[in-house]
């Protein structure tokens, strides 16, 4: 009798559990065998209350003019690099105020790339009565990342989704951004919890201005980006444009160009035509860019004449065309 009771208490959720917050809670096929069916279905009859955080997030973000998501289904294609460069470029106009929010909880790279980790004592966030004060790189460039809250660079965050969601909500509702012209939101790879949540929250408050997709030219990467486009369409995020990163490498000694990541299926351009998305062009692979990111320096300031910088300036102009100032 007692062992039976214990068994019941620790039963895991069935494989196809729709989740207690789902509309099918307690009504799915899998629910018939679940001990908590009654709980889930009774919960379902309660009037749905809107998440109280939504209003708070709405209030907090109301002073931001443009909110831009940087997305890619694939990892390591340069989302964080692009977000960093974009922020540096936009903030080179002293009239604009820029915020950079790093939502990659398990692999935050923004602080390192943007140079706020070089001075360890400075790499923290301060909590005040009014909220969280972001870390300022320049007078008009503020950043937020989970990295600032960790004791060391090596510390891992091993969190399940619910805990990550709490953190993301906190960043969205408690950060004192002040008046921003642009908020760049860097995301982790894939189409997982972080993406679902941020879209849900931002859509219910005021929808995001749009998303910039980043890809590399090979099919393996395009494949994942297709899924991301599919995700954006499913949840109704406008795609502002697609940037093809790491396209072509110019050998330093013979000046010949090689396509390291070969675009056998037409690359980003063909993908854009297929889905009818604006194509914003190719950014070439520049070894100096990687070094700048490692050292947290601004590539744009150091190499203003390089092909990559010129290309990025063009891309930022295209981005600004689609945003309100």
């Amino acid at each position: 009798m007692t062992t039976q009771a214990v068994d019941n208490a620790i039963t895991e959720e069935p494989l196809h559990c729709p989740g207690p917050e789902s509309e099918d809670a307690g009504a799915g096929d899998a629910c018939n065998s679940c001990n908590y069916q009654q709980f889930c279905s009774s919960n379902n009859n309660l009037p749905k209350v809107e998440d109280p955080d939504i209003q708070l997030i709405k209030d907090n973000l109301s002073c931001i003019k443009n909110k831009i998501l940087v997305l890619s289904g694939k990892g390591g294609v340069g989302k964080s690099t692009f977000s960093t460069l974009l922020s540096f470029l936009l903030s080179s106009d002293p009239e604009l105020n820029i915020g950079l929010l790093d939502l990659d909880i398990t692999g935050p790279s923004i602080p390192k790339m943007i140079g706020t980790m070089s001075d360890k004592s400075n790499a923290t966030l301060h909590m005040t009565n009014n909220g969280l004060i972001p870390n300022y790189v320049q007078d008009n460039l503020a950043t937020i990342s989970i990295q600032y809250l960790l004791p060391s660079l090596d510390e891992a965050i091993i969190w399940k989704s619910a805990k990550k969601e709490t953190m993301i909500k906190k960043f969205l509702k408690d950060t004192l951004w002040n008046d921003l012209d642009y908020l760049i939101i860097d995301t982790p790879p894939g189409t997982s919890d972080e993406h679902i949540l941020i879209n849900k929250l931002l859509n219910k408050t005021q929808s995001v201005t749009g998303a910039v997709l980043v890809t590399t030219p090979q099919e393996v990467s395009l494949n994942d980006v297709r899924k991301e486009i599919n995700f954006c369409q499913k949840v109704g995020i406008r795609i502002l444009g697609l940037v093809e990163n790491m396209a072509g490498f110019v050998c330093g000694s013979c000046n010949k160009k090689t396509d390291i990541f070969k675009a056998t299926t037409g690359g980003g351009e063909a993908l854009c035509n297929e889905f009818n998305i604006p194509y914003w062009g190719k950014v070439p692979l520049d070894p100096r860019l990687g070094i700048c990111c490692d050292q947290g320096e601004s590539f744009i300031d150091l190499y203003p004449e390089s092909e990559a910088t010129l290309k990025l300036v063009e891309i930022v102009e295209k981005l600004m065309d689609q945003c309100e100032i």
Binding site: D154, E155, I196, D224, I229, K234, C251, S253, D294
Partner: protein, 286 residues
């Protein structure tokens, strides 16, 4: 009490399970997984299985040119897709979420944590890997340290306790510090969950210009090696960027048909396979 108690699980008899991990995305986890599978299956008639648990961005189907395949349900469980290997008695079996999607090229999986965990449990419990046990099961993982990783470790722990299977991790990094930082987080994760690390592979370490043979370190060099020294881990070796390997993967259909061979023998022709065989020796996979 688990519903699968007492049920025969075909994964139980696997001799070695190798997890390919990296905190960073796009460093070549899937590429290393593929090369590991191809290299291991070319020696000693090993039976190799590949399990892709990257649910939101499965690339393994593309690497093996199996994008259109679908998983079938057999009497003993889900049947993995078999990659045909000519003139060899060994087998190469692949399973990935990509095989379960209707339109694996475009469909996205937008799932929350618990559902992804359940999917992984099913991949471990319900896949039938064949009558004779696998010599190696290589598991390709998504970037980060989140639900998928927790789920796979939890499920493998159970196996390890029952069957004493040899479970090890291989860490992949690129030479930049940005990547090494994320990889340190992954190593931290391995320590926390007490997962043995076989060693670290430094991928994308240098690029040989096909015109002048001059080697440029696009993403710097030595980051992985320094990391190993710092944390006292075995360093398995450097893997350069090889445009020929990318070409083979992207156009394997034509290349294989043209030469009337198969993916494994085409892979062995490339110079990168020699670099990789050194890694296999260094890591004592055999």
């Amino acid at each position: 009490m688990s519903s699968n108690n007492g049920k025969f699980k075909s994964i139980n008899q696997t001799k070695n399970i190798i997890l390919v991990l990296s905190g960073k995305g796009g460093v070549g986890k899937s590429s290393v997984t593929t090369q590991l599978a191809l290299s291991l299956s070319s020696i000693n008639n090993n039976k190799v299985g590949v399990l892709d648990i990257d649910l939101t961005g499965p690339s393994i189907p593309r690497f093996f040119d199996l994008e259109k395949e679908k998983i079938l349900q057999g009497r003993q469980g889900w049947l993995p897709i078999e990659k045909s290997v000519l003139n060899r008695t060994n087998t190469l079996k692949v399973i990935s979420l990509g095989f379960l999607l209707n339109d694996s090229k475009n469909d996205s999986v937008v799932w929350k944590g618990p559902k992804r965990q359940a999917m992984i449990r099913q991949f471990i419990d319900d896949v039938y890997w064949g009558d004779s046990p696998l010599d190696y099961l290589i598991i390709d993982t998504p970037p980060g340290t989140t639900d998928e990783h927790i789920a796979i470790i939890e499920n493998l722990r159970v196996l390890e306790n029952i069957q004493n299977i040899n479970i090890k991790a291989v860490i992949v990094t690129t030479p930049q510090r940005i990547s090494v930082n994320d990889v340190k987080k992954q190593i931290n994760f391995c320590n926390i969950v007490e997962l043995d690390i076989l060693g670290v592979i430094e991928n994308m370490s240098g690029f040989k210009c096909p015109y002048c043979d001059d080697c440029t370190d696009i993403f710097n060099k030595g980051g992985g090696e320094d990391l190993c020294k710092e944390l006292n881990l075995p360093f398995l070796g450097f893997l350069p960027i090889d445009p020929k390997f990318v070409e083979l993967i992207e156009q394997q259909n034509e290349i294989v048909a043209q030469n009337g061979s198969d993916l494994v023998s085409e892979y062995l022709k490339l110079s990168i396979s020699k670099d990789f065989s050194k890694i296999i020796e260094e890591g004592k996979f055999e």
